[in-house]
Amino acid sequence: MADTHAHAHGHNDHADHGHHPTGWRRWMYSTNHKDIGTLYLVLAIVASFVGVGFSMMMRLELAEPGLQFIRDQHFYNVLLTAHGLIMVFFVVMPALIGGFGNWFIPLMIGCPDMAFPRMNNISFWLTAVGLILVATSTVIGGGAGTGWTVYPPLSNHTFHPGMSVDFAILSLHVAGAASILGAINFITTIVNMRAPGMTFHRMPLFIWSMLVTAFLLLLALPVLAGALTMLLTDRNFGTAFFEPSGGGDPIFWQHLFWFFGHPEVYIMIIPAFGIVSQVVSTFSKKPVFGYLGMAYAMVSIGFVGFVVWAHHMFTVGFNVETRAYFIIATMIIAVPTGIKIFSWLATMWGGSIEFKTPMLYAMGFIFLFVVGGVTGVTLSNAPVDMAFHDTYFVIAHFHYVLSIAAMYAIFTGMYYWLPKMSGRMYNEKLGQWQFWITFVGVNVLFFPQHFLGMAGMPRRIADYPDAFAGWNMVSSGGAVISLVGALLFFYILWDTLRNGAKAPANPWGVGANTLEWTVDSPAPFHTHEVLPVITAEPAGSHH
């Protein structure tokens, strides 16, 4: 066992564990990838209280037809807007990318820290400012009731005269800048700072997923920033980029938004692919099946993800040939996605699988991602989208891939890496209970929404025709079960930090053979000060 600390003594004063700031300075000024990763995870947890809280308020209102709790429909629109923005930009992204990415990129590629530690610090704090700004937008200036897509003209000054949309725009600007800085940091680190012998084709798949995600962030977010700036000047300085009376076009916004927005959904799911690959391999005690195919499937999903954006706009009325192109391009994504699904199954095939909580979540991810993925194929067909656009079918589809699959990946990562991050083991029995409660909850919550969509219930309404009452009540019941699962997770987290048994360096056994399991648990403040040398293929794969 290569305990890096054994080699680190006398190296230089950085090796001394005591030499780091303490108290608030440690966190505020932090340039340490582990501390910053922890900060991101804490931010995601704090934001999830708000984002999940808002969704619970919506499900409470939707449990029965008529308006019971939310008298003002604008307030409902504010809730759904803030729910979307917060869950996307301040829960899923900070947890998967900022949290696990910062923690485990240096640990897994065998380098001491990120390439630009101070940029890492500003990247986190900009994200925190973004969260404050989006929260402000819900309470100042009447609230932004535009949906997370912020479509003009609804989002322009005539229809949202208060400051709230400006706050939401600034929030996305700041969070976007933070993500661009983070992406530069991730790319530089992964390209330049891999341990000797770790070629690109020996990188763990989680690192591949982070590299692809970073490129998507780097290329997609500047487009969002440009679009947001135009919307900001439309609102405040009399320009007319999206204003038909001034020669602009509201559809122009939709093209720009979705040119960012579609890569954005892969930004949220590709890190999940990475985490699930590590966990499936670890608990099957087998190397990943078809490693190169898995890596390049992510690359091609990222690439094709940039040329399919208008499938979000099948009903805006552009010409039929364009729609035909976007149908074909979108369906192509199913092919690399299928490669990933079957390669995970093949990794498990012949394995000696231990069904610990992270593995349960990874398998739950695979199955429910397939369910959400096939409804994506349904929606990719523009003719069928004529029946489903803006109905609950769409809500069901993207909550299967985001609220279920991406959140499952966050749970997978938390249970898998919690021993490394905290130095303590979670309660396995409670973890498995938490998995099953969540599994029942999210399916009862989201599956009936397919039915509502087929019957034609539009999304983004606080009150609905009485015929939709039945499935809405079931769905709200599922929300309550899911909430119990979420609260149990927070209890498990608290219980682990307080009472958890001490975790060994590698609690998962022979299957866990990436570099993070070679350092102590919890991972010391400084790690890999003597660079490990890699001689084997990733996770022992032979090709």
């Binding site: 005539t158 087998k286 039929v320 012949g350 194929v377 656009h389 803006d390 309404i461 015929a467």
Partner: protein, 288 residues
């Protein structure tokens, strides 16, 4: 035998359902409680759409069950107890080619009918009449460009509903359209983006300020009835309160409706209960 008993049960169920359907000659394109499938299809586009959807649906069900079956097998056969020594297999060229090529073939099978339906549903080939639809926050305006009729359609508020009217779906002035007639729909918006969606017609089109979008529909005579839809693009506070209700009537009934409508909606009268637009002189995008 148990099988024949089940058959009998299904037969009774089926005949009861047909009896219920024929008792009510009017088709109603409204959502039903606990509905988990499409509403009644009224146009050839929606009939094809449902057929095509079902094709994709069963392919997808097969895929999901296949994955579920493999996972069940894995759980049983390859858990640590049943299989203590893991294999080291990481490659199988045949398998990897297969799970790349087979999905491609499945997608081709889906894509061909998809594109055919896409081009079929795009535009009317020989429209016999035109309905122009203009959206506003939060009501619809309809203009019969061939007959000079125009009126607004507002939701009936909950406290003014008459028995039998549907909450959040019924409107004061329904659109009345003839059966067996190819109708071109032109759509635009006066303020923000809305969406005119009637599921039974297979029509769902954004109404965008500054643009005119086109769609079409034809309802055969055996589908005469009332069809409902709702605005399907977030358009502000009362997004939930701008429903769409369309009466499909026979060609003859449509002519008599037209005669009445011309006196009701065709003249300028400040005291009239509905907002009026004179079709010949006023473009629908005018400022109110």
């Amino acid at each position: 035998m148990i099988n024949s008993r089940w058959m009998l049960f299904l037969l009774v169920l089926f005949s009861a359902a047909t009896a219920a359907l024929s008792a009510d000659a009017q088709v109603v394109g409204a959502p039903q409680p606990w509905e988990w499938y499409f509403r009644t299809a009224a146009t050839p586009v929606q009939v094809d759409l449902i057929w095509f959807h079902d094709l994709i649906f069963w392919v997808e069900v097969a895929i999901v069950l296949f994955v579920l079956g493999l996972m069940a097998y894995i759980v049983v056969k390859f858990n640590a107890k049943a299989n203590p020594v893991p294999s080291r297999t990481t490659h199988n060229t045949f398998l990897e080619v297969a799970w790349t090529v087979i999905p491609v073939l499945i997608l081709v099978v889906i894509a061909i009918p998809s594109l055919r339906l896409l081009f079929f549903m795009d535009k009317a080939k020989n429209p016999e009449m035109t309905l122009k639809i203009t959206s506003h926050q939060w009501y619809w305006s309809y203009e019969y460009t061939d007959s000079g009729i125009a009126f607004d359609s507002n939701m009936i508020p909950e406290d003014q509903l008459k028995p039998g009217q549907l909450r959040l779906l019924d409107v004061d002035n329904r659109v009345v359209l003839p059966a067996d007639t190819e109708i071109r729909l032109l759509m635009t918006s006066e303020d923000v983006i809305h969406n005119w969606a009637v599921q039974s017609f297979g029509v769902r089109m954004d109404t965008v300020p500054g643009r005119i979008n086109e769609s079409w529909m034809i309802v055969p005579a055996d589908k005469i009835g009332t069809y409902y839809g709702q605005c399907s693009e977030l358009c502000g506070v009362n997004h939930a309160y701008m429903p769409i209700a369309v009466d499909i009537v026979s060609k003859r009934d449509f002519q008599s409706w037209l005669a009445q409508a011309k006196t009701k909606f065709g003249r300028l009268d400040a005291d009239a209960p509905v907002k009026l637009v004179q079709a010949e002189t006023q473009p629908s995008l005018d400022a109110r």
